[in-house]
């Protein structure tokens, strides 16, 4: 695993930890450090990668899908700079950036069970420097709940629409707003929800224009994309 990278540490594109090649170039290229996918990594591996990012000045850094036990071990090693958000199974090293985007990122969720995914999206967007407004439990079966939130939706810069089961929230919201909508299907449901497939398909087939979709339960991806859209023309960092 000794493929050549620059020996000049300040310009190295990767930090080779043996089990992982930390992508240092991403921060310079995209303004955001590599995000650690916590599932299937040990707490030691997570600590090593986060430390590498910290040592290379690439904070804040995020770890997704990290369970409480691993998070506790990481926190014990990295100290109070590491925060853990159990609802979202998200860890963060370093402080969130101050909001400097074009407007407000609205995270709308259809039901209470969709909260973990919605929170992952909201916290990722907040960490990267966005004001976030949460509108939870506004499923389409109680349409008045959406209508009551129409002003909040209309003033959004981007909407992240999180829903399981039939995933209709994305289409309804998409018809109400004139900003981009990032749809996140969740695995909430049973039977023919097929672990989120039904919501995913509904969102892909949305008759509302301006809607795009990320992977099932991928709150991180939606929050990250919302950040990018909310910073269009603002900076490239």
């Amino acid at each position: 695993m000794q493929c050549s990278s620059s020996s000049d540490a300040s310009r190295r594109s990767t930090d080779d930890l043996g089990f992982a090649r930390v992508d240092l170039a991403r921060f310079r290229r995209q303004g955001v450090s590599e995000v650690v996918y916590g599932a299937g990594k040990t707490s030691d591996q997570i600590v090593s990668i986060l430390s590498s990012l910290r040592d290379n000045g690439q904070l804040p850094a995020l770890v997704t899908r990290i369970d409480p036990d691993k998070a506790a071990a990481v926190a014990a090693s990295l100290g109070p700079d590491f925060a853990y958000f159990p609802d979202a199974r998200l860890g963060r090293l370093g402080a969130a950036r101050r909001p400097d985007g074009l407007g407000v990122v609205v995270v709308a969720a259809a039901g209470t069970s969709d909260l973990p995914v919605a929170e992952e999206a909201a916290l990722v967007a907040e960490t990267l420097g966005n004001e976030v407004k949460r509108l939870y439990d506004i499923g389409v079966a109680g349409l008045h709940r959406i209508v009551e939130c129409a002003d909040d939706l209309a003033s959004a810069s981007v909407v992240v629409a999180v829903a399981g089961m039939e995933g209709a929230l994305a289409s309804v919201v998409g018809g109400l707003v004139s900003c981009p909508v990032v749809a996140v299907p969740t695995s909430v449901g049973y039977g023919a929800s097929f672990g989120g497939v039904s919501a995913l398909l509904a969102m892909l087939n949305s008759c509302a224009a301006g809607v795009s979709v990320v992977n099932i339960d991928n709150g991180f991806g939606a929050g990250f994309l919302a950040h990018r859209i909310n910073h269009m023309g603002v900076r490239t960092r």
Copy 2:
């Protein structure tokens, strides 16, 4: 094919045509004659079955999924008592019953492309004796179009909700009304609509209570069920 049936013609349960056993008992048992599935039958076969139903006093009788050419051949043989509705690919021998149901059957369709299925449902319900109100092209991406129809929906006895693509109409309507909703997914769409599967799954996962689903493009089944529901307690015929 000589399995025994009653030789008393007035009480025979089946009329054995060789290629088909016409189910005469269904009319006495369910108040509606056997409906002919036109796909995969010749016009001669259709004429034979319809004639058998007519000769046994079981009109009106319906033929579904019959294309214009076959319909013309059937009409030539059966005369003016046979009507053909090309939008719905539906044929009917005998007059529609007069409306005698509890209330109005509303047939709501999301888009113009869903019309063939919606019309099949509407015509079947009308044939069997129901007042039908059509609300077409009220897809959820233009929510105000549904809101404009809220009164019509609220006063329905049953709603048949017809939609392809993401199939969200069923959930939104289901949340607005207090009557049974029969959802019909259609094969309208492309790509990940998978011939109606996306709409079907969305409807099965509807978070609105009171919604049930029939097969993709099954306008007949929805119209028939709406008829039964709209005649609860009225008669058994």
Copy 3:
């Protein structure tokens, strides 16, 4: 989560609990309170929602898919007005309504393993004010078992047909009765039953008219719809 709702408590459409917006309008609109989907909610959350419904005069209220441990915690908090039905994993706050429907709701189940779903349907219908007759273990492989029940089936106002594996019960029952049939596929089976998909597909393709389908294992949805159908023309509450 401060989207505006009426400040007049008696007409508020939602009660915002932070983690959930209890849909108070549903009771006024549909005559039945919002039903709590217990999976993925804590017992504290369930208690809060049920309390809100009670405080707004919207009992009886139901919680579906609640396991015994959560149910015990809820019961400890809400007292004897909360009843738990372990077979159906169903909780209920408040007494069942007295039966005031058009007729009898028959719940037919193909096998002993389908009981949890069948019981969920039966208890939901009873709670909402329906007389329910249970016909269990009448799978089609022993056709005489169905024939023995023909009179009970024929006198039903609505039939809920619950079956896993090949799901043929819905078609056979659908051919015997002249009332609406609500088919519930269950996840009972193994191998190519695919968690209820085989039964679901069979029911969607039923050659019997008057049959519609709800999600796999969705006993609640079937019981609720049966209630609506059994109250056609009776009241709008």
Copy 4:
């Protein structure tokens, strides 16, 4: 393609035609000649293979899935010994064997649209030396039609059950008889029938014991297997 086979023509195991290796050993091993799968072969190729079988004394020989045009060309070349059955898209060179099985093979079909597959099964069984009784259009939605045929079913040696849509016929028949049932799903249906998949899955999940399944639309395979079962202990030919 010169892999070695015996040069002694009477004991050759294959006849190498260049584009095909005719399996001459099968007749000696299994008492039935290789059956030609007509789809994707030219009429010339079919004539060559049939001629090889005839010249090696292995008649009757069958060609499945051969359309009328190809069949006409084959008939023009092979003369009156070649018979074509258009309903079943089946060609046969040589006369059917006289019935010498244990009993009667019953071919039951749910609907008129299933006839092509049912006829393929029936003709294959007749060709190989079986008495065949056809019971067509006895779908489960009109249960009395099956009951009327109960005696014919009960006296069968084997039943071939042919059905599309929900495929429930196999389970119902399987519960009525004590002989082996060979279930053939057909591609009849639309929407969620998925080209026969729904019927296939239903048949695989049949709660009736003694039922096994062949490929969708595989009338040939069912007729062949019924022949084998109906000749158990009779001969090995």
Copy 5:
């Protein structure tokens, strides 16, 4: 659950246990008692059903998919007449019948991991009165292992072919024998074996004639069908 059955115990068609209707007619109609599907039943329920069968003179009786703990509880209640076969997760009340079939049922299995399913088939066939020969671990990747068993296969009356992964054993055996082959796909494998779907599809598409298929892991169904085929013309019991 009081649908009427004959009050004459000796001719009753069902024994209504409340949670189950034991099908007593099956024994008279098919010569084999109802088989208990053990998954999802309590040991008390299993004891009740087996007792009912014993009291009605319908032994031997089988319970499939019963785990060791339940089996121990059943054995404690029913005594030494109840035998448990842990490899096959099969329980049996009463002695196996003496072999009286046409010939030998061969159970062939591709790999060691397929043994539980193969044993279920073998024990069911033995219980019902068949001589069984087991040929295990003869997967097609070591073709000589099949060739070494060619004589055993050729002399079989029926072959049950059990295989997971690519399921090729059914086709290879089907080409070697002239008797019916009952193919049983198993869930053995990983990745793209999809819990037995790959083997199931391969077996359904077998190019060898005379092969039919039962559900994934359905050793019971295969053993039962093999019994029926091996008793063709022998008796109807």
Copy 6:
């Protein structure tokens, strides 16, 4: 179809054409008129809808998935203001807006066969007022072709990545740029490409952050979303 809309034409939210309710509110709400889905509509219907949009001052208006014959009929009726782009099967009434977005929309396509979808995206974006740069035939199997385009990609405001087969272009581009990437799977390919499903799944699973996905072959949706993103903070029109 007489649900109430404002009688004041200038504020009407819908124009009810009988077969369609033209959504006039969308233009005021979202700055873009309703887009006509041409598949499944007659040329007369298309002309009516486009005329309604023109008469309400809502040009430019687009028709997607319109074949050459229908387009010719529409052009004959609407005159030279209607332009047709055969590669993209796109029709447009009225002139494209002048580019006034934040930057350049890059449309990248993996292969020559992906051009129809890529052109649909490019033309939609151009129509709505965006400068578009096309980078076609830069599939990942010739990585240097992408590298040669690195500068063009890096300077993009949004990238629309169009690819069939394995859909890897989205991930590779996603790793190279710091702007939002809209991925469009196409149905290009054969065998296990399953009409675009493989590309769709690959794009949904992209390990590159900032990528979202629209439906298979949905060039329109991608071009529309790219327009929205490229106009963030520019105007709400």
Copy 7:
């Protein structure tokens, strides 16, 4: 489409034709020119690309999936150096290389219907400089046909195994040889063959080691890979 490539023609990595960027670097990097995917390209486009390859000294060049009409147009333009092989739908500009591999590439096909795919593989391998031996119609249902070819198989350097339906040929051949086996599933079959999916899954699950798989009907990919394997250590060209 002006991304920069070297202006020195002899080292240019791409030839930009507007609709396509011909990958000239591939020949230098991999010893084989870019292969043209003929489906979805016009004959003019094909002629342009082939001409570019010829003018850059990169013959022989191949076009896959080109139908006879397009091939005739290409031949009319490029002259006798262009050869067309209709069975394989393959076009070739320039002469095949002389065989210079390690040994013989055996192309084995299960049935006559698999020939188009098998021929594509064989011709590609021959074009690139390999001796090819064809063993066709050796399906596993006639095992002796494979056994007769055992010597040819054993002496192969690589085997390409082509089969549809249940795809068992790959496993059986894989168990007989000690060289790499490239498995090609074909779309031959019907019903549950699902266009080649069954064969694909069977091959992926092969219990024989040394087997790998390419896309359904991808004869080209298999022939190309066989060439690479047969030239291991021979040259890099």
Copy 8:
């Protein structure tokens, strides 16, 4: 299980252990002993099979998918000649062969989570006598990480490309090298990765020539095939 094998132990083709027939012929035929599939076997069974292989002089022998507990039991029985590699869940009896292949086998993995599968491939190849170079964590989202490894890739004799999620690594690597590429999809991912299906489909659709695919998570199969390819023309052993 007494099918005949040679009684001459030195030439026996199988060693019949009762529960398994150890394939001794494979070593003589293919130069590598039978590999034990550890899942679903007891440690006693594994010890018996490994002992049989050792006693027949067929070491080194491998056990795949063996968990730590079983491995400890096997080690306790077989002593220090048995080595266990927990990362790869692989056991080995006997020493690895010395490298004697044509060149270097490169095992490339997209992410840290893919390591178990990559290690299985690497260790299998090393055991069979190959020099292996590991290039881990070089996913396509950080393209420069692949570019940094271009020299290592270019000098490979075979590349094993291991990736989950979108599986794009195989296509990118396939475009960079001129040697065979064995692609291994892994089950790493969530949501629409469907347990490796997305990566599998992407790899099967790779637009890069020279790529073939093995089953999801099948590191063993890839390492074995890489060994065969890396020993082309070297020996047949």
